[in-house]
């Protein structure tokens, strides 16, 4: 597509990257067909092609964002189904990330929205604050009908309360920091770092506990380094660039220290949303002379747990003959392009794996999307759980905590992380709720 960025604009690295992306788009419209919001709303402005056009026009004219661009960019789930569909290789993720940062820099959101976003970006990445908030939410759950009537905040707060767990798991040892050494093994230790991250450790500590057992069983040590925290994805998707980069740099420092201390053959991630972002650190910090190289090294080391396990010797015993509906998180299939590895592992573990019809369409979780856009997220969840029910599974397996929370709130079919299922099939405990 023709572009019209002035040389002055192109002096800016972000603008240069975005110009290149827009330039590669041929406006064929294929992306509209697999965009969840276009399917629901039927307005090209709520499709990738429409958003690319809005973003292009805003950036080319260096126009501060208005509530119109904000409305349509905010409605984007960043599910990246469009990137899987696009034959021209348009890197929509980097474009919409830039747009979100540009919006944050040039547009003042209404007060209620600003406060909500500030609270979310402060609370969720901090395990302590998030735990405290969930305790409050637990008390608030029964008050949903009252909360719903609060002006401006009502719908979103109700969505949050609905998603909050009924019971909050206690803090466990596998939250780290610490090192979990595999039994046996010679002097040549193999070692990986496992991301503890933020929300998942609070909502579902059993996922990383299962992962540690699983990886230890293959003879590999697992380290949860001191000082590691949220990957930055959450604020990154809110356009808060400085904070997301600060979080990225902090983690890069921690992992780099760990590499220097004892070597790491991978940084294993059990939430595919986080994995997508960590794999993008190299791009995010490309202009940072101090970090560019280190960031690229960390990105190259980052592996989804299923990606890492595929190369290891895992033995499964007494498999449970269950039908598993595999829900591929968008960050897994579109963000990281990991499609077969989780299913192959589940099959190797003895489960009957079924694909979910319309599996390329988002469940509506999308980070904080289900909190900020509850209406669209709710419709997508209904569509997703109906599609899952069609394959009549005993259990749903997936690789992202956001999807687990979102889908669990809409179905009575048990749901577990792929790593929990694999841990169970190789000698670990039965996943809760199964």
């Amino acid at each position: 597509m023709q572009t019209n960025f002035t040389p002055e604009l192109l002096a800016d690295s972000h603008m240069r990257a975005s110009e290149k992306i827009v330039r590669s788009c041929v406006h064929c419209g294929f992306c509209t067909a697999t965009c969840p919001t276009y399917l629901l709303l039927g307005d090209e402005l709520d499709s990738p092609r429409g958003r690319i056009y809005l973003i292009k026009d805003m950036l080319e004219n260096r126009r501060p964002a208005t509530e119109l661009e904000v409305k349509h960019v905010d409605r984007c789930l960043s599910c990246l189904a469009c990137m899987t569909t696009c034959p021209s290789g348009v890197h929509y993720m980097h474009l919409v990330d830039h747009a979100r940062a540009y919006i944050e820099a040039t547009y003042q959101r209404p007060l209620a929205d600003r406060m909500l976003r500030a609270a979310l970006s402060r609370i969720i990445p901090s395990r302590g604050l998030f735990r405290a908030a969930l305790r409050l939410a637990k008390i608030g759950r029964p008050l949903r009908p009252v909360v719903a009537r609060i002006p401006q905040y009502g719908a979103k707060l109700t969505a949050m309360l609905a998603l909050a767990p009924k019971s909050i798991p206690a803090r466990v040892e596998t939250e780290g920091p610490g090192e979990f050494r595999a039994r046996g093994g010679g002097p040549q230790r193999r070692r990986i770092a496992l991301l503890t991250g933020c929300a998942q450790a609070v909502l579902a500590p059993e996922i990383n506990a299962a992962t540690i057992r699983l990886i230890n069983r293959t003879g590999v040590d697992v380290v949860l380094p001191e000082g590691e925290g949220c990957c930055g994805s959450l604020v990154h998707h809110m356009g808060r660039e400085a904070r997301s980069l600060a979080q990225a740099r902090a983690n890069i420092d921690v992992w780099t220290r760990e590499i220097d201390r004892g070597g790491l053959e991978a940084i294993v991630v059990t939430a595919s949303g986080c994995g997508t972002t960590i794999k993008d650190y190299g791009f995010m910090l490309r202009d940072d002379a101090l970090y560019a190289e280190k960031a690229a090294r960390i990105s190259a080391l980052a592996k989804d747990v299923t990606e890492y396990l595929t190369g290891l010797d895992l033995r499964f015993e007494n498999p449970a003959k269950l039908v598993v509906a595999y829900h591929s998180a968008c960050s897994m299939q579109h963000g990281q392009k990991i499609t077969d590895a989780p299913k192959m592992l589940l099959r190797r573990a003895g489960f009957t794996v079924r694909d979910v019809p319309e599996g390329h369409i988002c469940c509506g979780s999308a980070g904080t999307y289900n909190l900020l856009q509850p209406e669209i997220a709710g419709r997508l969840r209904a569509r997703k759980v109906a599609n899952i029910a069609r394959v009549r599974p005993d259990v749903i397996a997936t690789g992202n905590i956001g999807c687990i929370t979102q889908i669990a709130a809409g179905t009575s079919i048990p749901i577990a992380h792929t790593a929990e299922m694999l841990d169970w099939a190789s000698g670990g405990p039965r996943p809760a709720g199964l």
Binding site: R23, V26, C28, E44, L54, E69, G89
Partner: protein, 475 residues
């Protein structure tokens, strides 16, 4: 640059814009787009070299809403441009400054599926592929399959009489549409055709299919759905020269063999598509044919044996049969993504001229010569069995000189097709792209007659007015 002219906008309409839009207030907020920031996204389709910001965009949710909007536009004298998914390569959905775009994207429901009588009734905004997907579990499909079938709408297919790879055997849109609901400019709702072939009365469908949104707006369609064959197998035939592949196509058609699809790709197109789809295309050949046969195993083998014998006579270099459904899917994914994937290496304009199959070798040779004379690269990927050429003329759209050259080369290519006994458009429609070349194919008398028919529906030229007919010859 912009070699293709648009009529100057009606300043009186622009001056009355606010008052005109006020009359559309009966539409809910999410169905009416008025702000320039939002309208901008509708200024073009897949022919992005041309762009016009529309007066407004409306996205109606029902036939009744379409009728109300059209009636209103007719009363206030505003031009109307219909839009499906905006995937037109000929500029069929490009608006004008004084026109209101009516987009059918909110009308995307499948209304009825009748397997016993083999039809599906759908709203016009349903995508082509969604129809097949709705019946695939029962073993049926909707035959015409434009490469953009994932995204393009049945309404747009009807407007352009779209084709596709499998039309060689099953015919194009006009052979697969049984009925339409058409809203005329004065808001009248007409049901044309029916639920079976050859409905009684005049052949209104023959008139409406391919009319490029100039007679009215189709809001619903009843289409044939067909039983899928027992099996289908694409086979890749690689050749050392374009002419050899072209001769092979002519020989197969000449022998009375009708495979379900016969697609051509040249070396550049093969490279581009293989890079995206990893379909296992041969990379050491000058041209490749994807020939698909279908039926029972015996039928497929018998037909393949005949085709292979002809291919050997034409000097085929490599032959590779698809061995699994997954391989077949990749082979078709590569072919159907060809245009978009070309965007990875350059901008392009995609031609759509058609020649008799026997003239393909000559057409291919001349295509290369014409593009070379402009110093431009060309990738050929097209429906060879139908003689429907799609040279993709590659250029840099940020360079106005190259853009002008690409358009000149494109015009020469289309004229070549007419000279070889073919026509300007196989399936993409005339749009704005081939509008001024219509004189090259039709005499003034022919065009006058076509325009008289058009004027019977729309005497004031309000419906998609800048398209199809040369601007200076309007009646």
């Amino acid at each position: 640059m912009s070699q293709i002219a648009f009529p100057p906008p009606d300043v009186a309409i622009l001056a009355r814009r606010d008052a005109i839009l006020a009359g559309l207030a009966f539409l809910p907020e999410e169905c009416l787009i008025v702000d320039a920031i939002e309208r901008r996204a509708f200024e073009t389709d897949a022919l992005t070299a041309y762009r016009r910001l529309p007066l407004a965009v409306v996205l109606p949710r029902s036939t009744e809403e379409v009728a109300r909007v059209l009636k209103y536009c007719s009363e206030v004298g505003v031009n109307v441009v219909p839009r499906g998914a905006g995937t037109s390569l000929s500029g069929g959905a490009i608006p004008q400054e004084d026109a209101i775009v009516i987009g059918l994207s909110k009308m995307s429901r499948i209304l009825e599926i009748n397997l016993a009588d083999r039809y599906a009734r759908v709203e016009a905004g349903v995508t082509n592929l969604a129809i097949s997907e709705a019946v695939v579990a029962e073993g049926f499909f909707y035959a015409p399959d434009p490469s953009s079938q994932l995204a393009c709408t049945i309404g747009g297919n009807i407007g352009m009489n779209s084709g596709g790879a499998h039309c060689l055997k099953y015919g194009v849109t006009t052979n697969n549409v049984l009925g339409v609901r058409l809203v005329t400019l004065d808001g009248e709702i007409l049901d044309l055709g029916g639920t079976h072939l050859d409905a009684g009365g005049f052949d209104w469908l023959g008139l409406v299919v391919g009319s490029e949104g100039q007679l009215g707006i189709v809001t619903e369609a009843t289409v044939r759905i067909l039983r899928a064959a027992e099996g289908a197998r694409p086979v890749l035939f690689g050749f050392d020269s374009a002419e050899a592949a072209g001769e092979c196509v002519a020989a197969i058609i000449g022998a009375g063999i009708v495979p379900v699809a016969m697609e051509y790709m040249d070396r550049l197109a093969i490279e581009i598509c293989e890079g995206f789809a990893h379909a296992g295309y041969p990379l050491d050949v000058e041209a490749m044919l994807i020939i698909e046969v279908e039926g029972s195993d015996e039928e497929m083998q018998a037909q393949l044996a005949k085709i292979t014998a002809i291919a050997r006579d034409s000097g085929v270099k490599t032959i590779r049969e698809s061995l699994s459904a997954m391989e077949s899917a990749q082979i078709w994914k590569g072919r159907k993504s060809a245009f978009g994937a070309t965007g990875r290496i350059a901008d392009y304009i995609c031609m759509d001229g058609t020649v008799p199959a026997s003239r393909l070798p000559e057409a291919l040779r001349r295509t290369g010569e014409i593009c070379a004379s402009y110093g431009l690269r060309v990738a050929n990927v097209f429906h060879a069995g139908d003689g429907n050429m799609h040279p993709l003329v590659l250029y840099n759209c940020n360079d106005p000189v190259q853009q002008a050259k690409a358009e000149d080369a494109g015009n020469e290519l289309l004229k070549l097709c007419v000279q070889l006994g073919g026509c300007l458009t196989g399936e993409h429609g005339v749009g704005i792209e081939k509008r001024d070349l219509m004189r090259f194919q039709f005499s003034a008398k022919d065009l006058d007659q076509q325009m008289r028919v058009r004027a019977a529906f729309d005497p004031n030229w309000r419906m998609n007015p800048a398209k199809v007919f040369p601007l200076d010859q309007r009646i």
